[in-house]
């Protein structure tokens, strides 16, 4: 196993695989009303990630991975922002003309997006003040 995990490319695949398995298990077992099993599998997966990352002295993730991650985050925020600018005013208008009723799930999504952009705005202010 240690030989297998000597190469950073293999560690990256293991880290990605375990992260997906952990997240899917947590969501899946929660839906199946087995929350403790979900948390246990998630904990094991994250422990596996830590172990895998500790198996090599060589860099597993570097500046290129950070840049890719930043670009993916930018695209995600942009996509979410643009779709929110279209969807939420439309839903609010529909609600105003009695064609739509806010449900707990739609309210939760709207609140999540609002909080996400509040956090984003706060980080923008903080980072600007530092540079």
């Amino acid at each position: 196993m240690s030989g297998f995990l000597e190469r950073p490319s293999r560690i990256r695949r293991v880290v990605a695989g375990l992260t997906v398995v952990g997240a899917v298990a947590l969501a899946g077992f929660t839906v199946l009303e087995r929350p403790l099993v979900g948390v246990a599998v998630f904990g094991l997966a994250i422990t596996g990630v830590m172990v895998a990352l500790s198996r090599t002295e060589r860099p597993v993730f570097d500046e290129r991975d950070e840049q890719i991650s930043r670009e993916a985050a930018e695209w995600t925020l942009s996509l979410l922002g643009m779709s929110s600018m279209l969807v939420f005013p439309t839903l609010t208008f529909a609600w105003g003309v009695d064609k739509f009723e806010w449900q707990p799930w739609s309210t939760a999504i709207a609140m999540f997006v609002a909080v996400l952009y509040l956090i984003y705005g706060a980080f923008l202010v903080v980072l600007r003040s530092q540079r």
Binding site: P8, S9, R58, P59, F61, D62, E63, R64
Partner: protein
């Protein structure tokens, strides 16, 4: 940004993996830099130049427009 990293690396008899270990990045990053798919950070540019003991501009070549602008500023 165009670069001569492949030439310098091959002249040194190094694999991409070996060079990556010397400058503490992944082999994929060296591969991406050599293939002009990734512009390295200033830190990595200087690390590579220091490793091959050459000026940065011997390793990385800014485009023609930038060279002209720099020479005009010099005049």
């Amino acid at each position: 940004m165009d670069n001569s990293l492949t030439e310098y690396r091959e002249a040194s008899g190094l694999s991409q993996r070996a060079l990556a270990e010397h400058v503490a990045v992944t082999r994929q990053t060296i591969n991406a830099v050599e293939g002009n798919r990734y512009d390295p950070s200033v830190e990595l540019v200087f690390k590579l130049a220091a490793f091959f003991e050459v000026p940065v501009e011997d390793l990385f070549h800014p485009d023609v427009e930038l060279e002209r602008t720099v020479s005009e500023i010099g005049d």
